[in-house]
Amino acid sequence: MTIPSAPLLNLTGIQAGYGEINVLWGVDLTLARGEITALVGSNGAGKSTLMRTLSGLIVPTAGRIDWAGEDLCGQSPAQILARGIAHVPEGRRLFSSMNVEDNLLMGAYARKEPRAAIRRDLDRVYATFPKLHERLGQAAGTLSGGEQQMCAIGRGMMSAPRLLIIDELSLGLSPLLVEQLVEALRSLNREGLSILVVEQDVITALELSTSAFVMDMGRIVQSGRSAELMHDPAIRSAYLGALAA
């Protein structure tokens, strides 16, 4: 029997959406400290909306986001980042005409630590993604899809987060590149970083994570240890299709 880790983040009854349109209908979710957690679901399930709510880009209409005893609801993205939650958004959203190093340094924009600490974290990013060091002077918009994803994750790392949220890790990337990214995330997790990965590719997500939540129609419909969910007949038939057979 494993001892459950202390919760890092606790969401209760989160409702949010865009103007009059409600997308999330009372989401309850708990993230364990020091784990990789996956949030899976089909297109339109509300995963990205939940992530945008978590990072302060959308203000929830109801519910509580509990982070170290503090409710994050209504806080700005800058405040949430300062609390230690970094968001690598879907589509990477890099500053395309800035070079790789400037993009990475912009990740540390809100930090008030000495330059040496930021330089140390930059070196850590380069150690995790050596490809970025080779491309440090290149405009981010000219990188390949995989390199852009590395740069986006690196930018997230530069804010020295306690929780790194990655929205659509594998979107548009080859299996080889996804494997490299998965290895990098595992290595970051071993160093103590908690990670929440949002994925449509259920196999990748469940293989990478320790625990997982399944989302559908703006609600969490299932949760548990990833290894168990991988063998759950309902999950297999709903998300793995022909592979389940």
Binding site: A78, P89, R93, S96
Partner: protein, 314 residues
């Protein structure tokens, strides 16, 4: 390369500062206008070039500054104190207005910013007791303390030139500051800027305020220089459009480019006006279109293009 460009622009400014030694009132008049328009285009660079918000509010800031300065001088304030106060009013007003207007993006923001000058013009027209309304506002001729025409022309040239120097240095410092980097991030991807901790709403409002403060001060100096202002004169839509064309001509996002663009535009305008009196607006428009077609990145890209050309030949 970047540093060389800025030292070059500063050298050009110092050279322009020698204009009064030519002892020509015509040259001084052109020089004062060149400095005034350069203040507008360099200031516009903060909101339009760095932040990527196409502001048409320059005319509003200019008119607001002209009337603030004019009214305060009439109340007995010294010229520079009145100009400073006009800058403070514009900065505070733009900051407050920016918090509301800058929630709009792209064309919506452009149109809303254009409307600011129209609203201020109507308010000025209505506040007859304070501003003189449609009758305009007279400003005392004795603000400079100089009795000669050349003395006064030199005084206003120096004042406008010094303000341009201040504007250029401040805008350059903004560009190199944390604020400047934040603004560039907002221009490239506003939601990503939000995610890395840039408070986009505050930053955009600050950029809007900085795009207005020196323009308002220039407006106050202009009011004292011409001694008489009226709403259609100082809230003229051309004060909103010309700085944008100048910044585009010089190179979008570069204070040095905006400075060069302003001087080049006024030089071309003067030459065209002299040679094609009847059709000067048409010829000027055509020239600007042709220049922008062949130099879409402005004059600042000329050296880059020449080196590329040299590289291809080599």
């Amino acid at each position: 390369m970047k540093q060389r460009v800025y030292y070059g622009a500063l050298a050009l400014l110092v050279l322009l500062g020698c204009l009064p030694f030519l002892d020509s009132s015509y040259a001084l008049r052109i020089g004062t206008f060149a400095c005034m328009y350069a203040i507008m285009s360099v200031s516009w660079t903060v909101i339009g070039g760095f932040t990527g918000y196409p502001s048409f509010a320059t005319a509003a800031f200019f008119g607001l500054g002209a009337y603030c300065g004019g009214v305060l001088i009439n109340k007995g304030w010294p010229l520079f104190a009145a100009a400073g106060a006009a800058g403070v009013v514009a900065f505070a007003g733009a900051l407050a207005l920016g918090l509301v207007l800058l929630r709009l993006r792209g064309h919506y923001f452009a149109i809303a910013s254009l409307a600011v000058a129209e609203v201020l013009r109507e308010l000025t027209n209505t506040a007859t007791e304070l501003t003189g309304g449609g009758m305009g506002l007279n400003i005392p001729v004795s603000v400079t303390g100089s009795s000669s025409v050349m003395g006064e022309a030199s005084f206003f040239f120096w004042a406008m030139w010094a303000l341009l120097l201040l504007t250029f240095i401040v805008v350059r410092l903004i560009q190199e500051s944390k604020l400047g980097f934040g603004l560039v991030c907002i221009k490239q991807n506003e939601s990503a800027a939000d995610m890395i901790g840039v408070n986009a709403t505050i930053y955009k409002s600050l950029a809007f305020a900085f795009s207005g403060v020196f323009v308002a001060m220039a407006g106050a100096l202009y009011a004292a220089w011409v001694h008489y202002i009226e709403p259609p004169d100082v809230f003229d839509v051309l004060f909103a459009v010309k700085p944008i064309v100048m910044a585009l001509l010089g190179g979008l996002g570069s204070p040095a480019g905006a400075l060069l663009g302003a001087f080049a535009f006024l030089g071309i305008e003067e030459a065209v006006w002299r040679n094609y009196l009847q059709i000067h607006s048409g010829v000027l428009g055509l020239l600007v279109v042709v220049l922008l077609l062949f130099l879409p990145d402005g004059m600042m890209s000329i050296s880059k293009r020449l080196s590329q050309l040299g590289g291809r030949r080599g």
